[in-house]
């Protein structure tokens, strides 16, 4: 367990080696990157076993750190914090990342910048792993920004496409809004408590009395997760982030980075739990985002966009779980979601490769015949997310709804349940449109190579069984990952049956609309009645992007224009002037460098003279010196 620091370090080294040395050799670069990640996974697996053998870590995490920065009044330790939570994250991230990198061997084959892609993936892995293992919030913030930068670079990976560049910019700017809040929150914590060590804060914060101040800090803090995890109203970047290569979408924008916000809230739950109003806020933001994004997902046409909104919605679930105080349920969903969402994204990537990047689900159909492995694994993912037992999503989603109801949030429970129905509906809408029904004669699909389908199969396996470690009858999960005292779960039969029925109902509705009679549905969507209007609103994502753009154009651009004038006439003038002066000064001073020895000697003695005069006038004994020897 003391080797946990190797887990982030290996991919970091891999990034350095690839970008500095082996960039020309594609396969070597990919091997290094995958090798580093798989080694990290092996270490993480041992760590996980170690953590399971030491239940004492649940309440007393293992922390080891180094003094990173130290100056009077400010000390920062950097290190590793190991408890079941971080061990689980290390295990999950390394596993999913390894599989996705292997998959990328097939997906990225022949793309320009193959090595660079793997270098970025390694850097991302390193940042993400450091984020989950960090023992100090400043260290965590560094990693947090690191994943942000990697996300930016990978979304804009196809930088010859304008849309990719725009999406990268949008992602960066939108998350920055949240990051600013997070940074302010961090600074406040440092000012108030004098430390950013998570373990120390866990001791100090629950005893802190000034609740209004703590509320402010917690709300600022929460902005970071809202941005990073794509929660309402900062979710707008996530669907656009699908411009990146599909493995990136799977790794970063589905399975790992976007849950960094959830992780941070979970990590700092001791802070949020001491301010109940903020907990309410977290729960409501989560619940609202869940239903909001699910409703948009119903009408989207691009396969990856549907999955993107589904991700937003599922992360909303996780936040909901945390907000009602159940660390266990929130993270259980994070755990299962990582597998089935990565699975579905990679499946979508496989479909895109098979159809030469045709992304509209309405133009697909009947793919199951030509792409059986992709289709079957995708269906497994669909069953998992819809909450059909015994697939993984059933257990985790059930836990969240159970916790919501148990904490007395009836409205949120209803919202959550309805979202469960919507989820099953839109996911199966996509599945029916893609894989079932009539084949589109324009398509000539082909099953993807094994290097891509094997990761799919492994993920499908995990999507099936990952939930079995947290059932009411065998609750390993809850025993290790929980907040406060551990309450053994009881099987809530009505809820479990109800969940299953809701999921099944969603699937059946999707079957009616999109498998049995899809032409009629198409017509329905196009008609200009109330439902059609609603469809438009949903399709345009509640016009939020338009609203933001309007705000941007009218307000931000207006101010920006003023600033711009100031910038070109005042700032640029100064900057250019300084630049020109600097260069001219350099040229001017160069004149003295004649190459002649006599001149050098002369300058030397002039220097002696100058220093003498300088000393004479600056020292306290200047007058004495001028007056000669006493």
């Amino acid at each position: 367990m003391y080797h946990a620091w190797l887990v982030p370090l290996l991919p970091a080294l891999s990034f350095a080696v690839i970008s500095l040395l082996t960039k020309q050799w594609k396969w070597l670069s990919a091997t290094i990157s995958i090798g580093a990640m798989v080694s990290g996974f092996i270490i993480a697996a041992f760590i996980a076993v170690g953590v399971l053998q030491h239940p004492g870590l649940i309440n007393h995490p293992l922390v080891y750190s180094l003094r990173w920065l130290s100056m009077p009044g400010f000390k920062v330790d950097a290190g590793i914090l190991l408890d079941p939570l971080s061990a689980m994250m290390l295990f999950m991230v390394t596993l999913v990342a390894s599989l996705i990198q292997i998959y990328s061997l097939g997906y990225m084959r022949g793309e320009k910048g193959f090595s660079v892609f793997f270098a970025y993936m390694s850097l991302f892995g390193a940042s993400m792993l450091l984020l989950v293992a960090a023992s100090n919030l400043l260290e965590l913030f560094v990693a947090w920004e690191g994943v942000g930068v990697c996300s930016y670079m990978l979304i804009g990976f196809y930088n010859h496409k304008i849309s990719a560049r725009e999406a990268a910019k949008k992602a960066f700017v939108t998350t920055r809004i949240g990051d600013t809040g997070l940074l302010l929150g961090l600074l406040s914590l440092q000012l108030i408590f004098g430390t950013l060590n998570i373990a120390d804060l866990a001791q100090k914060i629950p005893q802190f009395q000034n609740i209004p101040l703590l509320i402010t800090v917690a709300v600022l803090f929460f902005l970071g997760p809202v941005g990073k995890s794509g929660q309402f109203p900062l979710h707008v970047w996530l669907p656009d982030a699908m411009e990146g290569p599909t493995p990136v979408s799977a790794l970063i924008h589905a399975a790992t980075m976007v849950v960094a916000g959830v992780y941070l809230v979970g990590r700092m739950l001791f802070m949020f739990a001491s301010v109940p109003p903020v907990m309410e806020l977290v729960a409501w933001v989560g619940g609202f985002t869940a239903i909001f994004a699910a409703s948009i997902a119903i009408t989207q046409r691009e396969i990856k966009r549907i999955l993107a909104y589904s991700t937003i919605s599922q992360i909303g679930y996780m936040m909901l779980g945390l907000g009602v105080g159940s660390l266990s349920a929130g993270f259980f969903h994070l755990w299962t979601h990582a597998f089935f969402k990565a699975l579905m994204f990679l499946g979508a990537g496989s479909v895109l490769i098979g159809l030469h990047h045709k992304a509209d689900v309405w133009e697909m159909g009947g793919l199951i015949k030509k792409m059986p492995i992709t289709a079957v694994t995708f269906v497994v993912g669909g069953l998992a997310i819809s909450g059909i037992p015994p697939f993984a999503g059933f257990w985790s989603k059930g836990d969240i709804l159970d916790a919501t109801l148990a904490s007395g949030h009836t409205v949120l429970f209803v919202i959550g349940s309805f979202t469960a129905f919507l989820t099953a509906f839109y996911i199966w809408r996509m599945i029916f449109l893609c894989f079932f029904g009539k084949e589109n004669p324009e398509n000539h699909p082909q099953e993807s190579p094994l290097v891509m389908t094997i990761p799919l199969m492994i993920l499908a396996l995990f999507s099936t069984v990952a939930g079995l470690i947290g059932t009411p009858w065998w609750d390993v999960w809850g025993r290790y990952i929980h907040f406060g005292t551990y309450v053994p779960p009881v099987a809530n039969w009505p809820l479990m049956i109800g969940d299953t029925l809701l999921g099944a109902l969603g699937i059946y509705a999707a079957y009616l609309f999109y498998c049995k009679d899809r032409e009629k549905t198409k017509a329905l969507a196009a008609r200009q009645w109330f439902g059609g209007r609603l469809y438009d609103v949903l399709y345009h994502k509640y016009y939020l992007d338009e609203l933001y753009m309007w705000f941007n154009h009218s307000m931000v651009d207006g101010v920006a224009r003023l600033m711009y004038l100031f910038d070109i006439y005042v700032v640029d003038g100064i900057v250019n002037g300084v630049g020109a002066f600097t260069v001219a000064a350099g040229e001017g001073l160069r004149v003295f460098q004649t190459g002649r020895l006599q001149n050098y000697a002369l300058v030397f003695f002039l220097g002696v003279l100058a220093v003498g005069v300088l000393l004479a006038f600056t020292g306290p004994h200047a007058t004495l010196f001028l007056g000669g020897v006493r």
Binding site: L21, V611, L615
Partner: protein, 475 residues
């Protein structure tokens, strides 16, 4: 008398003599092995110095001081010497010849630096200084058939002589006024108050003499010409070892010897530091030759290090030690790249570095690390170094810290210009540049050190802190 205090120096002298003798014995074609022998010997001495880290004491009634401060400086010299030797093996074999003389005299230069770091009085100080200077004069002019090298040698002889004369004059003035050459005793005398103002003249001459060695403006004029003409590895050693040794003397003289008259010289050193930073960085901008660019950058670096001298405090000494150490890796790394590129392309012009990232990724990466570290960009070591340096003056001389920061930004301009050429431009001649294994080893060591110290400056900061404290204890 405890001779074991001088273990390191004795071993170094034996190594140097042994190399010279071996050069006479071994046949011509076997002399290439001398480089490895030098590296092994120096590495052994470095290990010895780490083992004797805690030795404290003085010899000959205070003429020779051994403390953690001097030992740390000796470790800097040894590290620099090892890296320079590693990096110069192929260069010496192909471009210079005279392996035995080259390595032997290089070791003697190191010995001179060690004597300087441990000097407790003016005589020892001057002895060490001249041993180092004369060794360097030979090394600079070693490429006898190359006009530039000879010119550099002549310039260095004359101007070094000049600066030595000035320094000696200053030393004799101080001796005449205090009646002693022992630095500690001078410190005691001066701290009692009244002293004749001619002492100020002595200080001026000392500053000029030592300012020459550290290439502080306006005593820096020799540096670009000599740096350009000298064999490149020697340039690296001039820029690191010689400079660090001179800083060891400056600190010993000013923070220990003249601390009683601190108020008289602090502002002058501050102004010198400012001028050196400004001129070094500005003149570096129009340079087109990489060695001249690095020479001016080295002038600028001397300015940064001088900032640590201004306050004469343990924090300042610590910062100087820290920076001198990390500066070794960046400078030797950069010059090793230059030497290797020159060995294969015959050019030191920056435009011939176009596409270096394709021709030799490791060389380009080394250069990138070195330049960014010198510019003080996190997370490389130079950032931590500059942080410690500027932090010492933030209280007393905030304007100096501001100048340092602004000039660091200016430096980014010309450093990045080289990076752009290396990484963006297409090479005219795409043939790869090969690296011999010792050269590659130098680069890897320098890069790893620059990165690791940058990420985690804690241990080095602790060591330098201890060394700085030992310095003040003895006083």
């Amino acid at each position: 008398m405890d001779w074991s205090l001088m273990d390191i120096e004795i071993a170094t002298a034996v190594l140097g003599l042994g190399l010279l003798v071996l050069g006479l014995i071994v046949p011509h074609n076997a002399r290439r092995g001398l480089g490895w022998l030098t590296v092994l010997g120096l590495a052994g001495i470095l290990a010895l110095s780490i083992g004797t880290w805690s030795h404290q004491g003085s010899l000959y009634g205070g003429m020779y001081i051994v403390d953690s401060y001097s030992t740390f400086f000796k470790e800097i010299f040894l590290t620099a010497a090892i890296l320079v030797t590693l990096g110069s093996m192929r260069y010496v074999d192909e471009q210079v010849g005279y392996q035995a003389e080259y390595y032997g005299i290089l070791v003697f230069a190191t010995l001179g630096m060690m004597v300087m770091a441990s000097a407790g009085d003016f005589i020892t100080l001057y002895l060490g200084l001249e041993l180092m200077t004369i060794a360097f004069i030979i090394l600079v002019a070693l490429r006898k058939t190359d006009g530039k090298s000879v010119e550099a040698g002549i310039k260095y002889v004359l101007l070094a002589g000049l600066s030595s004369a000035v320094l000696l004059f200053g030393l004799s003035l101080v001796y005449g006024l205090t009646g002693t050459v022992n630095i500690i005793r001078i410190a005691l005398l001066l701290s009692r108050g009244a002293f004749p103002p001619v002492l100020i003249l002595g200080l001026v001459l000392l500053v000029a003499g030592l300012g020459f060695k550290i290439s502080a403006v306006p005593f820096h004029m020799w540096a670009p010409d000599v740096y350009e003409g000298a064999p490149t590895p020697i340039t690296a050693f001039l820029g690191t070892g010689s400079k660090a040794a001179s800083f060891a003397v400056v600190l010993r003289l000013f923070t220990a010897g003249f601390s009683g008259v601190w108020a008289n010289w602090t502002l002058m050193v501050a102004i010198l530091a400012a001028v050196t930073m400004v001129v070094g960085n500005l003149v570096a901008i129009p340079q087109t030759n990489i060695k001249r660019l690095l020479a001016y950058s080295s002038v600028a670096q001397a300015g940064y290090i001088l900032v640590g001298v201004v306050t004469a405090s343990p924090a300042g000494v610590k910062a100087v030690l820290f920076y001198a150490f990390i500066y070794v890796f960046a400078t030797v790394g950069a010059f090793t790249v230059v030497a290797n590129v020159f060995a294969q392309t015959g050019s030191d012009e920056i435009r011939d570095y176009a596409g270096l990232s394709q021709r030799s990724p490791l060389s380009a990466a080394m250069m990138l690390f070195a330049l960014l570290s010198m510019a003080g960009i996190p997370p490389l070591a130079g950032f931590a170094g500059k942080f410690y340096l500027f932090a010492t003056v933030i209280q007393g001389y905030p304007w100096l810290a501001v100048i340092g920061l602004v000039m660091s930004m200016v430096s980014v301009y010309y450093y990045l210009r080289v990076v752009l050429v290396m990484y963006r431009d297409e090479p005219l001649d795409p043939s790869p540049i090969t690296l011999s294994s010792p050269v590659a080893l130098t680069m890897v060591i320098a890069m790893v050190a620059t990165l690791v110290i940058g990420f985690y400056p804690g241990p080095l900061a602790n060591v330098t802190d201890l060394a700085a404290r030992s310095f003040f204890v003895l006083r």
